[in-house]
């Protein structure tokens, strides 16, 4: 028994129409980027900076706080699309745990600085499975 195909699936199976052609049953793609997938990195904050973390949306604005989180949760080792990041200078910039990066300074334009290290695969934690982690070491929302 064959299942009747919807007009949309028939339309989708057809080859691309000529430029300018109109396929009425094929919906357009969502504009912009895809919604965020599950973040690759777990994000941890030093307990001494939890209050600063909680106040982050109020201090820098929710979009900036989310932008920072999206950056570190997905691409902590790449230059951010918004704000700037630099590797910490001096002899204390090295990894604090095996497999971690050097300390990164992330500057939220005109609003503050967040310092973190990240690991692509660490087995820290109760489960012992390899996972990617970002550890936020310090947050400064007052010196900018």
């Amino acid at each position: 028994m064959t299942t009747p195909r919807s007009r949309r699936s028939r339309a989708l199976s057809e080859t691309d129409p000529a430029p300018g052609g109109y396929r009425p049953y094929v919906s357009a793609r969502r504009p912009g980027e895809r919604p965020a997938d599950k973040p690759r990195y777990r994000v941890l904050v030093h307990r001494e900076y939890l209050e600063e973390w909680k106040s982050l949306p109020g201090r820098v604005g929710l979009p900036n706080a989310q932008q920072f989180w999206d950056h570190v949760a997905n691409t902590p080792g790449q230059p951010p699309r918004v704000g700037t990041s630099t590797v910490m200078k001096g002899k204390h910039n090295g990894p604090k745990w095996a497999g971690y990066s050097k300390t990164i300074h992330y500057e939220i334009t005109g609003a503050g600085r967040i310092d973190y290290q990240y690991a692509d695969a660490t087995t820290e934690g109760d489960k012992g499975d390899a996972h990617a982690v970002v550890k936020i070491l310090s947050i400064d929302l007052g010196s900018h």
Binding site: V43, L44, E48, Q66, K89, H92
Partner: protein, 152 residues
């Protein structure tokens, strides 16, 4: 040999003189014999900024001539924030800044030198806060972290 225009050429050979300046520089001899140079604004800005950077670097060199224990924050001038770092890191900064200045000269841009200073200043700011300094310079503490969710 470079052509030297006369003051009167500013009127009679204005276009030629301007074109010469646009592709490099144009030398003009004023009526009293004073030599003047016309050059693109960007080039002038670069030379002026580079002069300032080298001036600061030379002052820093003078500071490093003094024994570390005798250096005061004021001796570092515009680099006073360097006192946040110890002697080793200060010397690392000096070496990196010299490299950056060489790059600036080679690339006709002060951006490498400015970037070097900016990056070190950012770390100096981070280390100037007592709590931040303790955590950033201390050993990693596994139990000190808590997982957080995306701000909503």
């Amino acid at each position: 040999m470079d052509h030297i225009y006369q003051a009167s050429d500013l009127a009679s050979k204005r276009r030629e003189l301007m074109d010469a300046a646009r592709i490099g520089f144009a030398q003009i001899r004023d009526t009293d014999g004073t030599g003047l140079v016309m050059l693109p604004q960007g080039r002038f800005d670069f030379l002026r900024a580079l002069r300032e950077q080298f001036g600061r670097f030379i002052a820093l060199e003078g500071t490093f001539e003094r024994p570390a224990k005798e250096r005061r924050a004021t001796d570092f001038g515009e680099f006073a924030w360097l006192t946040t770092f110890d002697e080793d890191d200060q010397r690392t900064f000096r070496r990196e800044l010299l490299d950056a200045l060489v790059q600036s000269l080679a690339g006709d841009s002060v951006e490498p030198a400015e970037r070097c200073i900016s990056e070190w200043r950012t770390t100096a700011r981070a280390l100037s806060n007592e709590k931040s300094r303790r955590i950033l310079t201390g050993a990693g503490d596994d139990a000190a972290f808590e997982e957080v969710a995306r701000p909503e």
